[in-house]
Symmetry: C2
Subunit: 236 residues, 2 copies
Amino acid sequence: MEFKQIKNNKVYEQIIEQIRELIYEGELKKGDKLPSERQLKKDLGVSRASIREAFSALEMIGLIESRPGEGTFIRDSFDEDFFNPLSLILLLNDNVAEELLELRRVLEIDCVKLAAERATAAEIEEMQSYIDDLLSSSGYEEESIKADKMFHYTIAQASGNKVLLFFMRSISEAMDFHIKNTRTKLVSKKETMSEFAEQHQQIFKALKNHDPEKAGAEMRNHLDYVEKLINKEIEG
Amino acid sequence: MEFKQIKNNKVYEQIIEQIRELIYEGELKKGDKLPSERQLKKDLGVSRASIREAFSALEMIGLIESRPGEGTFIRDSFDEDFFNPLSLILLLNDNVAEELLELRRVLEIDCVKLAAERATAAEIEEMQSYIDDLLSSSGYEEESIKADKMFHYTIAQASGNKVLLFFMRSISEAMDFHIKNTRTKLVSKKETMSEFAEQHQQIFKALKNHDPEKAGAEMRNHLDYVEKLINKEIEG
DNA sequence: TGGGACAGATGGTCTGACCATCAAACCAAA
DNA sequence: TTTGGTTTGATGGTCAGACCATCTGTCCCA
């Protein structure tokens, strides 16, 4: 005898399911406008409340965007900053910091290799500007943190793999949350800063020369250094 | 002159924000029960609808779970199957198949290396059972597909990195969706099957011997083969 | 002791209402 | 012609109140 698990199908889940199907079949694409809530209420024969539950869930994961007075749209750009729900879940795990670092290592070393092969002139130019920012900034301030992050993002983007970029963002945001949460502060000594700048320059140089292996090695070196810093911070 | 973007703070987003804070501060942990919707309505001074929008969003990402008649709880296990929203977003990108394969390659090769270092006896035993299943199954049927998937999942789990496991799941689910969507069917010839079984055995053998490099090389070989199959399928 | 009936709490859903915002059309003044 | 205001209709955002299904615990009776 074989029994099937009885699925508890909430209405809002079924609505999401239907939207998912439409995306599968290509009927809904980036930037498309969804029917209004009142229209969907009629079409699907459910209450507006259920539709709104479905929409808020889809908005949470960054799939759609609702604009009052306008309507609801499939997001056409996932590059902008939006709250990444992944980071929330990751918070509940133990050892997140270690695991995130380990994963970042795995991803980013191969990421920079791909970037070294595929980076366009424009992307290399953009990286150059962040390198300049890092060199000109005096300490570990707001701007240099941002330049640092943007440098790594641009590498991920230059890999040409959007999913990889998405994952790198998730990891980065989760780490930001974790650092903020544990009130960890990275050392902002001058030596550290110049060391950082030097490492970034080395990565960039290899990348500019389209030398994947060298770029990977430099990235590995950089991440070793970062890891050592963070471990020191945790012990201290 | 500098203007700041005016944030549109929806009520349900503020509710989520508060829950997030509670998780940060450790007041909400895995398995904890949240206040009932009617209680929260009183505490927060908002309508039940808004609370339900927040909850449906959090349920979507797998953070909480609502059980009628009981209450709403923080999920204490993220290992079970639950709908992974990441895969929905990934579907909207072009060239998903290629990018997913590339990313899987990056992750899984390092993943199996970690697993070779850290796999416990129990995990190795579990892998063995899936290998046996694969050998005993006659064709590319339901069960062998499952055994294949479980073998790879167990490797990811044996890596000891839960975030890595989570990512592997996302990729796998997204690929499943894509395959189902494009109605791609992997070849189910006998030669293919025996080839698959052989490759899995090689991976497993290296893993069992705790030989990271060998395991990584065998995994690379396996993924090469898979990639070739899929490309052939796309062309054909 | 065991089982059934009952009550209370909880999530799931629906309805109808009101507000704030936006786009488009229209209009008027400079 | 351009600029700014007004109106109108559609849309999302929020709320209150109602009803149902399900679960838990209690109490009572055979």
